[in-house]
């Protein structure tokens, strides 16, 4: 078919061919140093925000710094006219987060979409958070359209698959999880620039999952392990949470919290940041009961927002460990 505009047959002049519109190309600047590029973009703010908002998580921060550094260097290369090789310019960004419960995997995954969007690696920066139920169908022929629909919704952003190992159930041969994995693998490879997939789960189960799905393992470029938090980091997290809930620590509260955490860690099922949040929620409950008991006292803003040591000392953690 003709790609030029109409020309009336027999007429002497014909319309000039119209060039197709190209997407707006990023203007190349003359920046030649890293600091010049940083001054032009938002990369440094993203890194600073990350340092401020996430406590601990050194491997995560290091990996994000590496990705941001690659972005800056790519810009410098583009400024010098070094064209990227076809199909190899954007690095594969699929990630796998492993770690114990409460170490911040879901939190970081949600922020990762924002970070990648601000660095310019994903186009829209939204997160679609799914588990096995959203991907796997209940009957033959149900899985493929279901998975494809989820993938289409996630394109331009991040697909976060929590507890990814449930997709693969080797003991049940009629399980449709494998079909979903096939479709995921295909899209992860062929549409790398459209979608970033982040898997998350516990380390041992993810290892088993990857062993039985080597295709998945090779497509994941970044395997990041989330270490358990240190004691001082947990204390800091506790303080942040309390401030976020618009409460404040009373005198002596920090030491009591540190003591509580040390004892709680000895007990089974310690879930890092989640355990801290639960402990603080229970402290709020006890504070509420304490203030509730005194019906006639006029409560000031300070009374209502301060958590006192007795709110935490009433916990069973103290009585149980003292008894043992």
């Amino acid at each position: 078919m003709a790609t030029s505009m109409y020309s009336i047959p027999g007429s002497p002049m014909s319309a000039p061919p119209v060039a197709p519109v190209a997407a707006t190309a990023a203007p190349t600047s003359t920046a030649r140093t890293v600091n010049a590029v940083l001054a032009e973009s938002q990369v440094q703010e993203v890194i600073d925000e990350l340092e401020r908002d996430l406590i601990g998580l050194a491997p995560v921060k290091q990996r994000i710094r590496d990705i941001a550094a690659l972005l800056v260097i790519d810009k410098l290369r583009a400024n010098l006219g070094l064209q990227p090789a076809a199909g190899a310019d954007k690095p594969s960004l699929h990630m796998c987060f492993t770690g114990n419960p409460g170490t911040g995997k879901t939190t970081v995954a949600l922020r990762m979409a924002q970070i990648l969007h601000r660095l310019g690696y994903v186009r829209k920066g939204h997160v679609v958070s799914v588990t096995r139920d959203d991907l796997v169908g209940q009957y033959i022929g149900h899985t493929a359209p279901k998975t494809k629909e989820v993938l289409k919704k996630a394109m331009g952003g991040v697909l976060f698959i929590d507890e990814a190992y449930y997709l693969y159930r080797p003991e049940n041969e009629r399980d449709y999880g494998q079909e979903s994995i096939e479709i995921l693998l295909q899209v992860m490879e062929n549409q790398r620039d459209d979608l970033v997939v982040i898997l998350a789960g516990y380390k041992d189960r993810m290892d088993t999952f990857f062993q039985s799905n080597p295709g998945m393992s090779s497509r994941i470029a970044h395997h990041i392990d989330f270490p358990d938090y240190q004691d001082d980091e947990l204390l800091q997290i506790g303080e942040r949470m309390v401030a976020g809930m618009h409460y404040a620590f009373g005198p002596g509260m920090r030491e009591v919290l540190a003591d509580y955490l040390a004892r709680r860690k000895q007990q089974p099922h310690f879930a890092n940041a989640r355990s801290v949040r639960n402990a603080l929620d229970r402290a709020r409950l006890r504070q509420a009961s304490r203030l509730y008991a005194d019906g006639d006292r006029e409560l000031t803003a300070e009374d209502l927002t301060t958590l006192l040591p007795e709110d935490l000392l009433a916990s069973r953690v103290f009585t149980q460990s003292m008894a043992s």
């Binding site: 790609t3 020309s7 197709p20 519109v21 289409k152 394109m155 331009g156 952003g157």
Partner: protein, 146 residues
């Protein structure tokens, strides 16, 4: 023919323009998504202007943020039906509108035979006119060969 020099059917938006490139289609889809439209892909081999309901290729795609998903489906449809008319339609679901807001053809058969005018004589030698598509002279699977 003077009224339609290129002989292409002119149904939907952009039909008088040269074919849109995939990039331009992506930009249109992004515009529709920004306005909250839901895109769907439809195909047919009967080009009559009164043929409003084409066959659906998959369900309408709601809640999408990016054009890549729509383009993926469109390219799958092109691979499956390379010689059919394929169009993208955008559905606007705001209350009291609830209708198709955008619709344009993204794929055409290589040869479009066009239409002929059919005259029917009725009582008193009056004529009734209608349009007949030459493609429908052949059965469905043989309409646009090669």
């Amino acid at each position: 023919m003077m009224t339609n020099p290129t002989g292409r059917i002119t149904q939907g938006q952009f039909s008088f323009l040269p074919d849109l490139t995939d990039e331009e289609i992506g930009m249109q889809v992004d515009y529709g998504l920004k306005k909250g439209y839901a895109w769907s892909v439809e195909y047919t081999d009967d080009p009559h202007p009164r043929n409003t309901y084409w066959e659906m290729y998959g369900m309408p795609m709601f809640d999408l943020e990016d054009a890549a998903g729509v383009l993926m489906e469109m390219n799958n449809c092109r691979k499956t039906f390379p010689n059919h008319y394929i169009r993208l339609m955008a559905f606007d679901s705001t209350r009291n509108v609830e209708t198709i807001a955008m619709s344009f053809i993204v794929n055409r058969p290589k040869n479009e035979p066009g239409y002929g005018l059919v005259r029917q004589e009725v009582n008193g030698r009056s004529l009734r006119y209608t349009v007949h598509s030459y493609a429908t002279d052949k059965p469905e699977s043989e309409r646009y060969s090669g």
